[in-house]
Symmetry: C2
Subunit: 189 residues, 2 copies
DNA sequence: TTTATTAGTTACACACGTGTTACTTTGGTG
DNA sequence: CACCAAAGTAACACGTGTGTAACTAATAAA
């Protein structure tokens, strides 16, 4: 019963994704989102009681996808192939990574939000485990000095993913270059 | 003549710096700034006609300092010492780096702003030159493969500076670790 | 001590963001 | 066809941010 919807849940997440990438968390407004969906602001409030709950649900959704994507890596591969596989997957998640970084800045306007922020934070750790496993493997197989701090290596890889492609290299060579930088730094081999 | 000022230009830049680090560009308001200076909002408008001009002047000021600091590097040092020197100086500029990244998001509310944004952008290139010189030196002295793209190496070094120190390492060892990562990546030597 | 000048404050008008309420539209069901 | 329920809209109250104008306070010079 009732009349037809003007936008689906999928439309909503799509528009939210675009808008948050375009304007950032602070610039994200319900008016802009409504405009993107060709709908009045109040229509969105029929589905979500406030902006914060909408955004946190969006992030949980994206996080779920990210965790799945990274956990699907084939661990039987060699260290180097596994690294390459991981990098390619992390590249797919590039803007998600920054979006998810905004999660902590969402205001705790209701207990529901506080709760879901903790869920997100837990999933964030889950996201790191495939990367951690890779580092462990690298240490075992002699690619990485076991004395090295895992947090540091993790941070290093995450930061390296975000290098801007100012040179305009094709994606394949760009990823290959980044892999080389991660493995051997700027030094001549 | 006239009465005593309640805040100096130095106070203003200090408060602006603190506030923009605390709240980010979007969260920066004249009310918060005024509160930090223990002054009414209107008092600041006696010095600056609007928020944008204040922020762009602040950034030009900071940029000038950054360019000077990086240009003071001793180029007679060895490649590795010069890199270390550079890294230490870039660490001093850590929050400045992110602040200056916000420059492009300042709205062009007046032609003065558009003009100063271009000045900032030009100084941004100046900031890169010491780094570029270092890379060139590294290529000449055989530390770096000359075929490698300078933009990529530059981006790599800039990103690496921003690795979060989650492990809580002391600054000295942290910088040393980062230098090692830049030079040789995660690989065992 | 009077006065000019500069610094600062209070109060206003305006714009825009949020969330709610009362109303309208639209489609299936008895 | 009547009417009910879901979906949507318009309009309101409220908060907060910006920039301005009229007023007040303090200090140095005449």
């Amino acid at each position: 019963m009732g009349r037809d919807k003007k936008f689906s849940t999928h439309d909503l997440w799509q528009a939210t994704h675009e808008l948050i990438v375009e304007t950032g968390y602070q610039g994200f407004t319900m008016s802009l989102l409504a405009a993107k969906l060709h709908v009045s602001r109040a229509a969105i409030y029929k589905h979500y009681p406030n902006k914060e709950e909408l955004l946190i649900d969006f992030m949980v959704e994206k996080m779920r996808y990210s965790v799945t994507l990274l956990s699907e890596i084939d661990f039987t591969q060699s260290f180097e192939h596994q690294l390459r596989d991981l990098l390619e997957r992390m590249f797919q998640l590039k803007d998600l990574h920054q979006i998810l970084g905004m999660a902590s800045t969402i205001e705790d306007v209701s207990p529901v939000i506080t709760e879901k922020k903790q869920v997100l934070s837990a999933m964030h750790h889950e996201l790191y485990t495939p990367l951690n496993q890779l580092i462990t493997k690298g240490k075992e197989q002699g690619f990485i000095d076991p004395a090295r701090n895992n947090f540091l290596l993790l941070g290093f890889i995450f930061q390296t993913i975000d290098i801007p492609n100012h040179a305009g290299l094709p994606l394949d060579t760009f990823i290959a270059e980044i892999q080389a930088l991660i493995l051997h730094g700027i030094s001549n081999k």
